[in-house]
Symmetry: C2
Subunit: 213 residues, 2 copies
């Protein structure tokens, strides 16, 4: 398999963690977003959306959208499981993942920040305020779903990592990079530390990537 990705992209980071948890080898191909390599014609043949990550299977089949890729890996390589065995557990894990992937992350990715400054003329201070607002309020929502919930364990759901943890950890890296408040989300941060104790998470982090700067 070949993963087209970028060290700092959260969505890429999610897929790297899932591949590592599943013990799947892959070729790391860097697509440098700030240098706009995702807009090159060569990448257009790989990804109609021009987004990272894309996973290319050995027979050439292409998969896009990080959460769809991870669900696919779960279906095709079920061991170790990254989803609970019961439907309600799966619904909770997916909802937690979407609370981040649909409510926080889309507001803070590079193309959105660029539009705010380059197209709408906002300054750096307003851009940072925007970033922190969605991260801090969004993570507060995640904290409320986790704290005191009977299914929360060492990880977001039970005592093994799931799609929810895989989505959470990259968001915390982003939060730290933009110096967001995190003292209001103690359960989130406890789980973050738990995840980072696992090689699959720590070895997939941006600074450990071949294209890290």
């Amino acid at each position: 398999m070949e993963l087209f990705n970028y060290f700092r992209s959260s969505a890429s980071f999610r897929v790297r963690i899932a591949l590592a948890l599943k013990g799947l080898d892959y070729r790391y191909t860097s697509v440098h977003l700030p240098r706009r390599e995702h807009l090159n014609e060569s990448y257009a043949a790989v990804s109609a959306s021009r987004l990272v990550p894309t996973l290319r299977e050995d027979d050439g089949h292409l998969l896009t959208q990080s959460l769809a890729i991870i669900e696919y890996l779960e279906e095709t390589h079920p061991d170790p499981a990254l989803m609970p065995q019961d439907a309600r557990g799966r619904a909770r894990v997916r909802a937690l993942a979407y609370d981040i992937a649909c409510e926080i992350h889309p507001l803070n990715n590079l193309r959105v920040l660029r539009y705010l400054t380059a197209d709408l003329g906002l300054g750096e201070d307003d851009k940072n305020r925007w970033y922190r607002h969605w991260v801090e309020t969004g993570l507060a929502v995640v904290e409320r779903q986790l704290a005191d919930h009977p299914s929360t364990g060492l990880f977001c759901h039970g005592d093994t990592p799931t799609l929810a943890d895989i989505t959470l950890v990259p968001q915390i890296f982003n939060a730290r990079r933009f110096e967001c408040r995190l003292d209001h989300v103690p359960t989130v941060m406890r789980i973050f530390q738990q995840c980072m104790g696992l090689p699959a998470f720590s070895q997939s982090q941006p600074s450990a990537c071949p294209d890290a700067e």
Copy 2:
């Protein structure tokens, strides 16, 4: 079942379509977002995130996040199927759904538009430009994934509606409401018309809801 939702909310509309396609009855409970009823204490007991929709099952179990709810309905009420039978098909359908639910819709929901105007001081023109930019560029990505793809049929994937169509249709309603360009996405619009020919879609549309204004 009881669905806490709002007639104009896209995420609510998605769940209404899925429930209708599955032939599942539910009680419609309106949560009026512009009147900020989602921030009432009574709704806090239902939803930690204060977002709509929330689906309450007959035993009181609560489900949040529209796509997680639909995946749960698919698992618990598999007939008729809203997901393809093969893993690659499911990955494609999920990726299409996320191309909308993670790349377009989060940038255009009510709380985000409010933040742009109330907190960042943007005017109506800039707000509308922002809205149209993400809808028009985002739908162009969806169009590229659909046009000429061998798996695209009468619907986004094959000849029966899936999660991808369920996510697409509410986005087109939003696009029209904000007078976005749609002439550049002919495959998207062909599929939209196909969907709207089905009672499950047309009877779930905002104007058909009890709380429609």
